[in-house]
Symmetry: C2
DNA sequence: TCCGTCGTCAACTGCTCAATTGAATGCGTG
DNA sequence: CACGCATTCAATTGAGCAGTTGACGACGGA
């Protein structure tokens, strides 16, 4: 039956997506783009690749329809195509975490477990933030904050934190977050804040997990997404 | 900082998983294994590959920790490693459906849209089944049914359906399901049942989607998973 | 309008992977 | 204890991808 033939013609298309995910460089680019759109040169700098190589990988991702590109003045800005792509990347990471022992080893050596006992979970954050018992602190780089952040969060990039401590309250717990599971900005921030006498913990996960779960967000100054 | 180096050493591991997903043959094997465990020869037959080739691809999947293998008598049975792998495969399919126009084209030519207006959604099925207003019918191959099925479903493999129509009620709606989104068993079954005067519709999705969402299931005769 | 900058394309090399064939391994059975 | 079957391994071929270098194209600013 040709139904069979048609159905089998689907798999090569899905395999195209798999092929796009088969390179560590491209996954790194996807991870960066999951935080905020960026132009090629920035992606090259942040990933440590040559511009030409970065461009090639971006073409591959674009052909697999995982990212979109559009010109902004002289530059070309790339962004994640869709929230389903972010979910795919999280699903891939989840399989790696649960199934690849090497990933668990590296995670342990990153010290990501040390503070595990003291994390606030995402489902609790909205309530705690709403009743004013905590302050939510975003310590990601500025342009990622501007592209979108947890609704109501205070925005202080990690490299400005030390000089802006006077903006933070000493009578409330501070919950810091950054890009996501493997990002250390929030851990570093929590360490600093504690040394200075603040009551600080990090959020379980980060912007990526928050957004994919459809929790309330806002961008720059205007509000979106109830 | 070596934190950076450690973090970057994660990506190659995730890319291993991506590489395992980069072949249409392997995705077909994964899709089959997502229904029920199988031995190599059965997988080779169902996928139309040589046994040696099938075995090689299974090794690749096993090295990426996406499937597990264990001996059963003279044979080696392969099964999906984890439910997170099923979620990954669904996430991949979802990106393909929303982003690849070719996939949408093929889906349309499969006629999967024709009956879309008449599908029962998964979140409604439990309720309808519990209060006895419908009968849930599983038309997948027998050994897939035995490995697990929707709790309370009636099990009639598609190739036995015509000869077992007397087991089905004429005073209740029948909701048929099969493997999942791209599987046609349920569509064929619904057509047949309607020709014979039954009130039949198909379920939106199938076993794969049902299981991944954690809905009630049972295996063979014994019950599990509340 | 011309120049400088940003990004892409083309060509090339080294490597990895898919599939085939044929041989070897390991298990259950007689 | 050896035979037979299911599966895996080894070796080979051809195709395809990663990364570099250098040239080209497109846009904004002066």
């Amino acid at each position: 039956m040709d139904h069979r033939a048609l159905k089998d013609s689907l798999y090569p298309h899905f395999a195209r997506i798999g092929a796009a995910l088969a390179s560590d460089r491209r996954l790194e680019l996807l991870n960066l783009l999951a935080q905020a759109p960026r132009h090629v040169e920035a992606l090259a700098a942040e990933s440590g690749m040559s511009v030409a190589n970065t461009s090639q990988h971006l073409q591959t991702l674009k052909n697999a329809r995982l990212v979109d590109a559009h010109r902004v003045g002289a530059r070309v800005e790339y962004c994640l195509a869709d929230e389903s792509v972010a979910r795919l990347w999280l699903a891939l990471r989840d399989v790696g975490e649960t199934r690849l022992s090497e990933v668990a080893d590296i995670t342990r050596r990153l010290g990501l477990n040390d503070s595990r006992g003291e994390m606030v979970h995402r489902e609790d954050l909205e309530r705690l933030s709403a009743d004013g018992s905590i302050l939510v602190l975003d310590v990601r780089p500025r342009h990622e904050q501007e592209h979108g952040h947890v609704r109501g969060a205070t925005l202080i990039p990690h490299d400005e934190l030390e000089s802006r401590l006077d903006e933070l309250p000493r009578d409330r717990r501070i919950v810091a977050y950054c890009r996501g599971h493997y990002c250390l900005f929030a851990d570093v921030a929590v360490d600093l804040l504690r040394q200075r006498g603040f009551d600080a913990v990090r959020l379980d996960g980060g912007w990526l997990e928050w957004m994919v779960e459809g929790r309330p967000t806002e961008a720059a100054t205007s509000t979106e997404n109830a």
